[in-house]
């Protein structure tokens, strides 16, 4: 029996092995992905990102425990950085997820970021598709919020949680990196630490900037308050206003409120048509990427390497602009 079929039948070893093949983009892994594709599109993809030390893994642990109480099958993809020098990695997110051990309704997979950023996003997308096809209801993707790769991965998710903690000075850092804009829900974890009010104030201020539409609310005398409504109408389109929630993940505090916020966002996604729009945008990007990849491959097969390198030499000598060189290459392909 092939791997894809075994995964659909609920074989956990086959699932684990297929995840490796997808991560390594082996031909077998890619073929299985194609076979599984019709079975995807059902899971709720939850992105959890934030600076190191904000308590993401503990929070993911708690979220998974709560979803398990609702009898939902949970997959966790925990991404940690690879060493840029040796390519190795120590993946330690499982340390904080030991409560989930022994439950076959939970599957945790650690992933190293490996080489390229784009590659990571692609590999993660593949891994998520496998979990989706395998029948997991909720797939949590945990990443360190440090830059573009997280933004790419967040694009995968239906609902993105950005985790902050008081006293790290993170709020401003996060904003600089553009992490805040991807948040559907802002979680202030470690809310028992001092400085939590200041962190919440800073986040609210930044939300005001990121969502100018909220000025309407100021106009109605609700300035500096999280609006009672988490959505607003803007030119006939329903918009989501990111919610802020406080948690203490290690003591399981604030979790019901956070889960409620996630449910609200899920309802919003369905109601506004955003769920379908996100799926469409995601597939469009994948479609586009693959098209480019395959076109380049096809082109390389048709045009000899010497032609490419001689035109590149012309560019290097500044006799041809890159655009002109590419134009000549394309001419050759047509003829």
């Amino acid at each position: 029996m092939n791997l894809a079929q075994s995964v659909l039948n609920g074989d956990r070893l086959a699932l684990a092995r297929l995840l490796s093949r997808v991560e390594n983009t082996t031909p077998e892994g890619l073929a299985a992905l194609d076979a599984l594709f019709p079975h995807t599109g059902k899971a709720h993809l939850l992105g959890v990102t934030g600076a190191p030390g904000t308590g993401k893994s503990s929070l993911v642990n708690q979220l998974a425990l709560h979803y398990r109480k609702q009898e939902k099958k949970v997959a966790i993809v925990a991404v940690d950085p690879s060493s840029p020098f040796t390519g190795g990695a120590v993946l330690g997110d499982r340390v904080r997820m030991r409560d989930l051990s022994g439950d076959t309704g939970v599957f945790i997979r650690s992933m190293a970021s490996r080489g390229s950023l784009g590659g990571l996003a692609q590999a993660t997308a593949g891994v998520v598709q496998v979990f989706d096809a395998a029948g997991f209801d909720v797939i949590i993707i945990e990443t360190v919020g440090a830059g573009q790769s997280e933004v790419d991965i967040a694009r995968l998710a239906h609902t993105t949680l950005v985790v902050e903690a008081p006293g790290l000075g993170d709020d401003i850092q996060a904003i600089k990196a553009g992490i805040l804009e991807i948040a559907d829900i802002l979680v202030i974890n470690k809310a028992d630490h001092s400085g939590v009010d200041a962190t919440e104030r800073a986040l609210k201020t930044m939300l005001e900037l990121a969502h100018p539409v909220r000025r309407v609310f100021q106009h109605h005398g609700q300035a500096f308050e999280v609006p009672a409504h988490h959505t607003i109408e803007d030119n006939g389109r329903l918009l989501w206003i990111p919610l802020i929630r406080r948690t203490v993940a290690t003591e399981a505090k604030g979790l019901p409120e956070l889960l409620e916020a996630i449910d609200l966002h899920t309802a919003y996604l369905r109601e506004s048509g955003d769920w379908a729009r996100r799926e469409e945008a995601r597939l469009e990007v994948e479609f586009d990427l693959l098209l480019r990849e395959k076109l380049v491959e096809h082109f390389r097969q048709q045009v000899p390497d010497e032609v490419v390198s001689s035109l590149f030499a012309e560019t290097l000598a500044r006799r041809l602009a890159p655009r002109e060189a590419i134009g000549q290459l394309l001419q050759r392909m047509k003829s």
């Binding site: 956990r12 070893l13 684990a16 092995r17 995840l19 490796s20 991560e23 390594n24 983009t25 082996t26 031909p27 690879s82 060493s83 040796t86 390519g87 190795g88 990695a89 120590v90 993946l91 330690g92 499982r94 340390v95 030991r98 051990s101 022994g102 599957f107 945790i108 997979r109 650690s110 190293a112 490996r114 080489g115 590659g119 590999a123």
Partner: protein
């Protein structure tokens, strides 16, 4: 095709709380370009086998300083086999009396490393035991 990485689970079964050795090995393997999944302290053999399965590792390193290796190691080896991961290499580090080493190897343990063992040896043993990877 992306380069295939050796994946190793480094685990501490049993009740002793000394994880220095496990961390040194984890770091050394990382520096050798491997992907190390570290599970933390006080893992049961069941938890270790489950993690090995989910992470699809090539090798499992067990650090044991409590003296309970003759109970813990065979259990892990057996569970790996039950899960269909009999090809996963198991190595053991810690305080293991000499007379237990042959018995552990009979159970299918790849190698046993005592205090003072070099991390280079651990790395080269893993590399030669897992030929398909770089």
């Amino acid at each position: 095709m992306t380069e295939r990485k050796i994946r190793v689970l480094v685990a501490k079964p049993g009740l002793d709380g000394h994880d220095r050795g496990a961390k040194v090995v984890a770091r050394a393997l990382r520096d050798a370009g491997m992907e190390v999944i570290y599970t933390g302290l006080r893992q049961t053999p069941e938890m270790i086998a489950e993690a090995a399965l989910q992470e699809d590792v090539d090798a499992v390193g067990l650090s044991i300083l409590s003296g309970a290796h003759m109970a813990l190691v065979p259990r892990v080896v057996e569970l790996l086999k039950t899960n269909g991961q009999q090809d996963v290499k198991v190595f053991v580090g810690g305080i293991i009396p000499d007379e237990d080493v042959p018995r552990l190897k009979e159970m299918g343990v790849m190698e046993v490393y005592g205090p003072g063992a070099s991390t280079e040896k651990v790395i080269s043993d893993i590399r030669s035991a897992i030929p398909t990877a770089g």
